[in-house]
Amino acid sequence: MKINPLYIGLLLVIALFFAVYQLDQSKQQLHDSKIALLKVEEMAQEIDALKQAWDNPKTVTSALNRILKSPQLKSANIQKIKKRGRIVLSSKKANLKATNYFFIKLFNGAFILQNFDVKRLDDESLSFHVEIEI
């Protein structure tokens, strides 16, 4: 039986529309996935940078040790206790200069401060207690 050319033409037109529709969809998908890739790259770089700064226990420990070894803090007699995932630093009596030095270093570094308490004892001295996450 001979097929009506109209049917063949119709089939070709449908096939053409299907191909054009699919192409349009996949171009949209390509555009979306390019944007998604850029976002993923951006997020990965951001995570990497944040991890370097805020999730690096080794760096935190060595930076803290460097601070504690400073001659300016000798008089403060800072006690260091390592707890589970935390380092607790405390001083029963420290002069203003040492306390200033200690907290400037602490606040300018990427230390995750969990708790702290700085209390004035008298005009010249303070006591403090700091918990840092590692």
Partner: protein, 298 residues
């Protein structure tokens, strides 16, 4: 059913075989120096061009012995005639030419009160009944149909075969072109999705976006909290106090920072810490026995 220009009109329900009278087509029985039928088919328009009236025609041919039987017919005219006889395209099961169905006639057969069919030089022709008054009436009840059918279509009137082929080729080419581009684009999408996984592995991160989004949110939260703590402390440690005032305590508790200053009055304490109050909206304060306490929620 035999159809001639003189045939009556019918009321039909369903599809049936139709045999076309010789008056509805042109026929040639020819010997050609060509072996194959497919070679003859391309020559058909030129073989009929000197005898056909102006119009769009379809052609068919078959081989009988050493000779070829060639046919030309006007689809539109036949379909229009069939329509006047009450036969539409839906009523057509198969369409045959009288030549292929009655080429073995022994005697003349009458097809109406005025006409008969007979064979002349191997060609089925329609002649007046008066020439064969004893002709028997055509009976198709016991007729065995050949497999030589023709196809009637109005499409041939819109565009000739060549134009149809060109049109179909263009459509086909465009379809293939777009389909190829679709496949290429799809493979690019797959490559980009694969690259997303590579980005994570490059930074030693988990393989799924979901896990990484959670890590990103956690780290970002840490960063924001720590920045906020430092912002509050920066303001707290730079407040200007009077001679009889002093900062007594600064503490970071779970979700708040407590600032304690020794001062003369509540108004004075409030004034000293007004910068913090303006910048951080979630603050509470109290004054008790010469001590002003402000709590800043993180």
């Amino acid at each position: 059913m035999f159809i001639d220009v003189d045939s009556p009109s019918y009321l039909l329900d369903g599809a049936l075989n139709v045999i076309l009278s010789p008056s509805l087509y042109w026929v040639k029985r020819v010997s050609l120096p060509i072996k194959y039928l497919r070679d003859v088919k391309s020559l058909l328009p030129s073989l009929f061009e000197d005898i056909l009236p102006e119009g769009k025609y379809s052609y068919s041919a078959y081989k009988e012995g050493d000779e070829f039987l060639l046919f030309a017919y006007n689809d539109k005219e036949i379909l229009d005639l069939l329509a006047t006889k009450g036969i539409t395209s839906t009523n057509l099961k198969n369409v045959y030419l009288a030549q292929s169905e009655f080429d073995t006639l022994d005697t003349a057969v009458s097809i109406s009160e005025k006409s008969i069919l007979t064979l002349q030089n191997g060609v089925v022709v329609k002649l007046p009944l008066i020439l064969f008054p004893d002709a028997q009436t055509l009976d198709l009840d016991a007729h065995t149909y050949s497999n030589r059918t023709i196809h009637l279509t109005r499409f041939n009137q819109i565009a000739d075969k060549k134009s149809q082929v060109v049109f179909a080729s263009i459509l086909g080419f465009l379809t293939v072109m777009f389909a190829t581009e679709w496949l290429i684009t799809s493979s690019k999408v797959a490559a980009i999705i694969e690259k997303q996984g590579d980005v994570f592995s490059h930074y030693n991160l988990p393989s799924t976006s979901f896990q990484n989004e959670a890590i990103h949110a956690k780290l970002n939260n840490t960063f924001e909290r720590q920045s906020r703590i430092r912002d509050v402390l920066n303001l707290a440690l730079t407040i200007k106090l009077g001679e009889d005032e002093r900062l007594e305590e600064v503490a970071l508790e779970k979700n708040k920072i407590v600032i304690v200053i020794k001062t003369v009055s509540e108004a004075s304490g409030k004034k000293r810490l007004t910068k913090i109050e303006k910048r951080f909206k979630h603050t509470t304060s109290r004054f008790d026995n010469g001590t002003y306490v402000m709590e800043v929620r993180l």
